[in-house]
């Protein structure tokens, strides 16, 4: 039960939301009936139609909802393999063979919402909610940086203890925390929707991406999952959260859906429509899309009973189709998934993933405990260390990346998209992956990972030298400077 103070805060927040809803002129761009009409109209796509859509995807111009529906409804195993191959090709064309690594950091779990699928819902007394103190936050960051992490996604509940001032203070604290050579260079934020003024305040501390998941785009399901008397009960407030962020000048925004709440085919089209609407209004779509699947959570039966749980094969389709549909948007896969599935899924167009994650509030301080179920929002499938995961990435031919160059070199929003859409962003991504991975190998890697990692770097530098000799010379010079003791060099 919420305390009187929590209830009062919640009421205040809802008054802000109601006032917003009266003023918001934007039209809800998710038309449930239309999405179903599109899906049904492409229910049985012919081979030729699928191949035509894939040919268009390879032009790197993205897909319309109708075209995505063709791929969604494709069931031919041979054609599915072509979809997967196309997704792989697109990702390599745009981003190269690099995988960006980050870690989640849950800072505060108290929440005034009561979402049916969430372990942190306020009526779930089986999960202990807590908020990190500044000292505890510093300790968590030091553990993360001691493993080699440079990028975080920080997560907050919707609660008076984690209001905008708290968010700003904690983000500043993270950036200020040093641990020898360790530091966090980019903080992305997963937090409740804010007002434009709050977004402006957050922007001043210098965040990376602001992330809000719609959870489900299906209106009736949204109402069912999110009680009306909670801030999260407002569909429109959440749907336009990132439009408001853009209004405030936060031009790197991220969307997502929680797969398992409703039909995955609908949610894929919902995500595409959301990306299109952001691009329509602001000239730039989301920086990343996430597609978490419902995972078991303590005392949360929906997470295992939902009739819409997504199987592994459909999950792979989701990733591949999104990659084809939004070629310039990062796709984030998380440690929710089992190691063997992650290995397959990464090949389908994923550009970012976490590793070495702990999702209990204060979980990194107790790193040896893989699960702390009574303090976690849900259960993780992959609890391997960052180093183990990096070793596997190297074996699979990827180059791990801790790059944070883009947002520190002014490559943000429309500026980023201007050369991303020429398929040339990998000209930055690849050398920056090499540089940040070199730092990791020198400062944090196990001997086995260092050995395999150095071979990966040599291969990439050699390839880069063949393709872009002048830039390769610059890269070699910077690698030598890293070996000489400098750090944080980037294109």
């Amino acid at each position: 039960m919420l305390s009187p103070e929590e209830q009062a805060w919640r009421e205040q927040r809802m008054a802000v939301i109601r006032e917003y809803e009266e003023r918001e002129l934007r039209a809800d761009f998710i038309n449930d009936a239309e999405i179903w009409r599109i899906l049904e109209s492409k229910a049985h796509p012919a081979r030729a139609e699928v191949e035509e859509v894939l040919a268009k995807a390879r032009e790197l111009k993205g897909l319309t909802p109708e075209e995505a529906a063709v791929l969604i409804n494709c069931r031919d195993p041979e054609l599915l393999e072509e979809i997967f191959a196309t997704a792989r090709w697109i990702k390599e064309q745009v981003y190269g063979n690099r995988i960006v690594l980050f870690a989640p950091l849950y800072i505060s779990s108290p929440c005034v919402n009561n979402c049916a699928y969430c372990g942190f819902r306020h009526t779930n007394d089986a999960v202990t909610k807590r908020t990190l103190s500044m000292d505890e936050l510093e300790d968590e960051v030091k553990v993360l940086t001691s493993k080699g992490h440079k990028r975080l996604i920080v997560v907050y509940g919707e609660h008076p203890v984690s209001d905008i001032d708290f968010m700003c203070r904690t983000i500043e604290k993270i950036y200020q925390t040093r641990n020898g050579r360790g530091e966090i260079r980019r903080v992305n934020v997963n937090a409740p929707p804010l007002t434009v003024e709050e977004y402006r305040q957050l922007k001043e501390v210098g965040i990376g991406t602001f992330q809000v998941f719609q959870e489900t785009y299906h209106h009736a399901t949204y109402r069912k999952m999110h009680p009306a008397n909670t801030p999260k009960g407002s569909y429109r407030w959440r749907l336009f959260a990132l439009h408001r962020a853009q209004e405030a000048g936060i031009d790197d925004v991220a969307i997502g859906a929680l797969f398992g709440l409703y039909d995955w085919r609908f949610e894929v089209l919902g995500l595409i429509c959301h990306a299109m609407d952001l691009e329509r209004e602001f000239g730039v779509g989301p920086h990343t899309i996430s597609f978490p699947r419902l995972e078991p959570a303590l005392n949360t039966p929906l997470t295992t009973n939902s009739p819409y749980l997504v199987n592994d094969e459909d999950f792979k389709k989701i990733i591949a189709i999104l990659r084809c549909a939004v070629p310039y948007t990062g796709l984030i896969l998380t440690c929710r998934e089992r190691p063997e599935l992650r290995r397959e899924a990464i090949r389908l167009g994923v550009s970012q993933t976490d590793a070495g994650s702990r999702i209990a509030v204060g979980g990194y301080a107790e790193m040896e405990r893989e699960h702390i179920l009574d303090r976690q929002q849900f259960q993780l499938g992959d609890t391997r260390s960052l180093d183990e995961f990096i070793y596997e990435l190297c074996q699979d031919g990827y180059i791990p990346s801790f790059c944070t160059a883009g947002y520190r070199a002014g490559r943000t929003g429309c500026h980023f998209i201007s050369f991303a859409k020429k398929g040339l962003v990998k000209n930055f991504c690849t050398p920056n992956a090499v540089l940040t991975f070199k730092e990791y190998l020198m400062d944090y890697a196990s001997p086995a990972t260092r050995e395999v990692g150095e071979r990966v770097i040599d291969r990439y530098v050699e390839e880069f030298a063949r393709q872009m000799p002048r830039r390769a010379e610059a890269l070699k010079g910077m690698l030598a400077r890293l070996e000489g003791g400098e750090r944080d060099l980037y294109f």
């Binding site: 260079r185 965040i207 070199a409 490559r411």
Partner: protein
């Protein structure tokens, strides 16, 4: 407002005409873009762009030129604005100082205390704010 960049050694170039009224954020961006274009032409530099510092984030403002995909040299211009110069290795130290002095002068003009808060630089994203006069 117009600028002249002198490619030869000499005292830094400044504006030929001071503004009659306090400029808006839009005017700031236009001035920066024009300055970048002129500097690229005067110094043979492929690309120059500007960003506003927000914590660790350098938020793109405007720029001119063709992307080289080479590491840029970045320099502070004051008021939280940074300039990125790509492909300027051939510039002499004097030329670079001249360019930076002119750009700093430009930033100083558009971002005087009389302009009120740094809202002049909040010309970002889809909406632009007027300078708080």
């Amino acid at each position: 407002m117009t600028f002249t960049f002198r490619a030869q050694n000499g005292s830094p170039a400044g504006p030929e005409k001071w503004p009659d009224t306090l400029p808006s954020a839009e005017e700031l961006l236009r001035a920066l873009e024009e300055a970048a274009a002129r500097a690229c032409a005067a110094y043979g530099v492929p690309k120059i762009y500007f960003a506003l510092a927000l914590g660790k984030r350098l938020h793109y403002l405007t720029g001119y030129g063709e992307e080289t995909y080479l590491p840029a040299v970045r320099e502070p211009l004051g008021r939280g604005i940074w300039v990125f110069i790509e492909g300027g290795e051939h510039m002499t130290a004097a030329q670079k100082e001249q360019l930076l002095a002119t750009l700093r002068s430009l930033v100083g003009i558009y971002c005087t205390q009389e302009c009120g808060k740094v809202a002049a630089f909040q010309a970002i994203g889809g909406r632009r704010e007027e300078v708080d006069r």
